[in-house]
């Protein structure tokens, strides 16, 4: 362990392996933040591998992998390793960009791709043309001409004895620079995620059509999940009212996709804290943004209005927010502690239950063409405040059943002296309100990530040398173009051929040259793949 261990590539690979392993666990084991009910039934042994295995899973934190200390530790190790690896790489990269020069060579290397041709042009002209060609294609060039310079201009050993040449290299800093940018973008993403967690806010609230809406304040949300740094003063205080909720389905049972919803649209009126009310629309994929808060539709349900009267006294009159339950029904509850003893109603709402032979038949279809309310009445102690219960659930442990009834809209029934009415039916929508100031930073991080990834995978380091010599007493200049790529040799082979063709076009070949101008495909000196073999981590000599 220690710094040297952290810097090693093998360590990074191992850490990535552990990350993959933990993610795999999170794919297979249900995660508490996502599906708390499934996790509960795993723990109870009702689902999954049984209670004993679940206890072990719980013990190792497998039900909340991304919130577990082990995951945090791994993240820390990954970033430490990343940092340890990046610091020397960045240093080396800066040095590379500032000082790197393609080396001067004496002869063609063993694994170089090479091609040669003859020309009438003087060697100096060929070198000038090559420099122009390569410079135009943004290669980093170095011209070496021992005769012209005549002196020990070059410090690198042996360079003086090397023949005149143009040396060039390319892809040196773009590949490594892209890789660095890619890895550095993780810090941007991590910072955005961590600060985002602290600054974010998310709240949910159901609103019934044409009913009082709600204001953006801490107390008006049903569920409220603020980040640690999000204070109540950060709320903008606008009001939302739901004017209409439209929903439709493919109603033809024989049509493909029968029963699937086709429309989800809420028309809302927003009153900003300091401004005029305006109307707008929230749709499935089109959230509404108000003062930096995003408003999404999360779920929906029917909102039957129920009135309960005991001994001529109205003890309950409200719009229920019934939630979808199994079998196409919607479930809710009425809790009327104003009566004595308390009245509780278990309510089931079926939107499409036409009359059949022996009473209403429950079709399970979600459209409200034949709405039916089924109530079961309970009396006793509702235990409000004493036990945990949601709005739509009735804790019947302190209650006694008093029978039930069916109601159509407008109906009124009397069950054991309690009058129950169902005067109207509306719909409600569950809105999610969120504020996520980290989103622009996440976008920046993602853009950097992709911008770095593409050159990291596509740029390739390569070197090319052009040597033109005219042996004493000869008319012709012999030009050799050779080089090698450290990655993507097959791509380089193409590029090399292209460079040769272009150079020939610039300097010209004598008409009687034996080389067929159409057949200038470079002859490869050796298996080009061999060059790529050990290139990936090889340090380029300077």
């Amino acid at each position: 362990m220690g710094w040297r261990w952290l810097v090693r590539m093998r360590t990074a690979l191992m850490l990535l392996g552990v990350l993959a392993l933990m993610t795999a666990v999170a794919t297979v084991v249900p995660q508490e933040p996502n599906v708390p009910t499934t996790v509960r039934s795993w723990r109870l042994g009702e689902e999954g591998p049984g209670a004993t295995v679940s206890a072990v899973l719980d013990w190792v934190g497998a039900f909340d992998v991304y919130g577990s200390p082990a995951f945090l530790a791994l993240l820390l190790a990954l970033f430490l390793s990343l940092t340890a690896c990046l610091i020397p790489r960045i240093r080396a990269w800066i040095r590379l960009v500032r000082r790197s020069k393609p080396p001067v060579v004496k002869t063609v290397g063993g694994s170089d791709i090479t091609a040669s041709f003859q020309t009438d042009a003087a060697p100096a002209d060929v070198h000038a043309a090559a420099a122009k060609l390569l410079g135009g294609r943004v290669w980093r060039i170095r011209r070496h001409d021992p005769e012209a310079e005549g002196g020990p201009l070059d410090a690198s050993s042996g360079a003086r004895s090397a023949p005149s040449q143009v040396a060039a290299e390319k892809g040196l800093w773009s590949r490594e620079g892209g890789s660095l940018l890619f890895h550095l973008s993780f810090y941007v993403l991590l910072a955005a995620i961590v600060f985002g967690q602290l600054l974010t806010f998310e709240g949910q609230r159901g609103v019934v059509e044409r009913d009082r809406g709600f204001a953006d304040t801490a107390i008006s949300y049903w569920n409220y999940q603020p980040g640690r740094w999000f204070s109540e003063a950060d709320h903008a205080g606008w009001r939302l009212e739901l004017d209409e909720f439209e929903i439709d389905w493919i109603r033809d049972p024989l049509a493909p996709g029968a029963g699937q919803p086709t429309t989800f649209r809420s028309t809302v009126t927003i009153t900003p804290a300091d401004g005029e009310p305006f109307q707008d629309v929230v749709e499935g994929n089109q959230p509404l943004t108000v003062d930096g808060f995003k408003i999404h539709q999360l779920d929906w349900g029917y909102a039957p209005r129920v009135e309960v009267e005991v001994d001529g006294q109205m003890v309950y009159d409200d719009l229920l927010t019934a939630v979808a339950a199994d079998g196409g029904g919607f479930r809710s509850a009425v809790k009327a502690p104003a009566a004595d003893p308390d009245v509780g109603l278990e309510v089931f709402f079926y939107p499409f239950a036409p009359d059949g032979d022996g009473g209403p038949s429950l079709t399970g279809a979600p459209w409200d063409e034949a709405p039916l309310l089924v109530v079961r009445q309970w009396r006793g102690d509702l235990q409000l405040g004493a036990t945990q219960q949601t709005v739509n659930e009735l804790d019947t442990s302190g209650l006694e059943s008093e029978g039930g009834a069916f109601l159509r809209p407008g109906d009124e029934v009397v069950v054991e002296g309690v009058t129950i009415r169902f005067p109207e039916l509306r719909r409600w929508v569950g809105f999610q309100v969120s504020s996520r100031p980290q989103i622009p930073w996440l976008l920046v991080g993602s853009a950097l990530l992709v911008a770095g990834l593409i050159p990291a995978l596509y740029a390739y380091r390569r070197r090319v040398w052009v040597m033109a010599v005219r042996p004493p007493g000869q008319q012709r200049t012999l030009v050799t173009v050779f080089g090698r790529a450290f990655q993507r040799p097959e791509k380089f082979e193409e590029e090399h051929g292209d460079l040769v063709t272009e150079l020939i076009r610039m300097v010209g070949v004598p008409p009687d040259d034996t080389t067929d101008p159409d057949d200038r495909a470079p002859r490869s000196g050796a298996d080009p793949a061999a060059a790529a073999r050990d290139s990936a981590t090889e340090v380029m000599p300077r």
């Binding site: 590539m9 093998r10 990074a12 690979l13 990535l16 392996g17 990350l19 993959a20 993610t23 795999a24 999170a26 794919t27 297979v28 249900p30 995660q31 933040p33 996502n34 991304y66 063993g110 998310e202 493919i250 493909p256 996709g257 699937q260 919803p261 086709t262 429309t263 989800f264 499935g284 994929n285 089109q286 959230p287 995003k294 999404h296 999360l298 999610q432 969120s434 996520r436 989103i439 996440l442 993602s446 990530l449 992709v450 990834l453 593409i454 995978l457 596509y458 993507r488 040799p489 097959e490 050796a526 298996d527 793949a529 061999a530 790529a532 073999r533 990936a536 981590t537």
Partner: protein
């Protein structure tokens, strides 16, 4: 035409038409590959066969594209809405990219047979998830979704091609390793061991990855034996059949168990499970037979790497697009939903492959194995997230 007629037409175009064209093209190309070591007239026959394969492959790609269009017309939406459509498009992109890459960019048409064989397998497996054309849930239907899903599906297809080449690389490498080991053993026993060991190093220059030889050192010895044929047989024999069969069966099982889990009856599930596994075993055995005819390991490794690098970029962009879509549709950009977790896991796995290729001591076989495992992760999470765990992302009409 009515939607029903269009739907029928799209089904026929898919299977049998495209499926049989892919299979026929694959086998013609594979036949052409067998002629590369034959006599001259045989090689000429092979070149002609390649032309036939080209026509069959292009026709198959054409009918496959026609299938996608007709199916799109039948349901008036892009065919990207359920498992069948996604798997079908995965096959199309894999075949199209692999084919163009081999034919035009790498100029190695002799390897098209493997691309098409892999494509035919994916195409056939999509039939196990067949569903009739139908509309899409409105919540799924946005531009972001189209962008996100098409990128990821295209990447899946290209990853599949990468898997094929990684597997071929491993097979070839196993064969070469076995030959090298055998030769070493022989040299140790011989009196000219030291001298021959020197030859080995020279030979290494022209060989594939790593410090061993694949050259036919004694091919020049004129003893009347066909050393090329012996070498080829040795390469093939180097890949042990029982290990290949058992390994392929077990490896495939890591993914195909999902079909047992998701089928209506146990018998049906087991049938599907066995069918998939045995088809994969058969494909592995075919590939083994072709080991001596494959290009050098460095080439196969390079092709696999370029393919996977390309798909990795697409996967990255596609996953980011998915987070953007989720932010718009659900108001949260990332929620560790099973599909999101699966996409992340696949990304990490392939990042592991890219790192491994740059790591001393791991690159080569080690990296290729990570690449193979990454594809198991890809297919596993894809099937598990759709069939076993139902999250927010579950498709309509599974």
């Amino acid at each position: 035409m009515t939607p029903t007629e269009l739907a029928d037409l799209s089904r026929v175009l898919y299977s049998p038409v495209t499926l049989s064209l892919y299979l026929a093209a694959a086998f013609v190309y594979l036949y052409a590959l067998t002629t590369t070591v034959g006599r001259r007239e045989e090689r000429e026959r092979g070149m002609r066969a390649r032309k036939v394969g080209l026509v069959l492959a292009v026709a198959g790609i054409g009918t496959h594209i026609a299938h996608e269009i007709v199916r799109g017309l039948a349901q008036e939406r892009l065919p990207l809405g359920n498992m069948f459509e996604v798997t079908s498009l995965m096959a199309l992109v894999g075949v199209l990219t692999g084919f163009i890459y081999m034919q035009v960019i790498r100029k190695r048409p002799e390897l098209n047979g493997f691309v098409l064989l892999g494509g035919a397998l994916v195409l056939a497996s999509a039939l196990l998830m067949y569903s009739e054309p139908g509309p899409l849930m409105p919540i799924l239907d946005t531009w972001w979704r189209t962008f996100h899903v098409s990128l990821l599906v295209a990447a899946m297809g290209i990853f599949a091609a990468g898997f094929v080449f990684n597997s071929l690389y491993l097979l070839r490498d196993t064969g070469e390793l076995a030959v090298a080991r055998e030769r070493e053993r022989q040299l140790e026993g011989s009196t000219v061991g030291a001298a021959s060991a020197g030859d080995l190093d020279v030979a290494d220059e022209t060989s594939g990855i790593g410090g061993r030889t694949i050259d036919r050192l004694d091919a020049t010895v004129d003893d009347g034996r066909d050393h090329d044929a012996e070498y080829r047989a040795a390469l093939r024999a180097g890949v042990s059949v029982p290990r290949l069969v058992i390994g392929t069966f077990l490896g495939t099982s890591l993914v195909s168990w999902v079909f047992v889990y998701s089928a209506a009856t146990l018998a049906e599930g087991l049938t599907r499970f066995l069918t998939i596994n045995l088809v994969m075993v058969a494909a592995a055995l075919i590939a083994r037979w072709f080991v001596p005819l494959l290009p050098p390991t460095a080439t196969l490794d390079g092709i696999a790497h370029r393919t996977i690098a390309f798909a990795f970029v697409m996967w990255t962009v596609g996953t980011i697009a998915g987070a953007m879509w989720a932010e718009q549709s659900w108001g949260r950009f990332w929620g560790w939903d099973p599909k999101e977790t699966g996409a992340f896991l696949t990304w990490v796995a392939y990042a592991g492959y890219l790192h491994a290729r740059a790591t001393k001591g791991v690159k080569g076989r080690g990296a290729a194995w990570i690449g193979v495992w990454s594809f198991v992760v890809l297919m596993g999470t894809y099937l598990i997230a759709n069939y076993v765990i139902v999250g927010l992302h579950s498709y309509a009409g599974l």
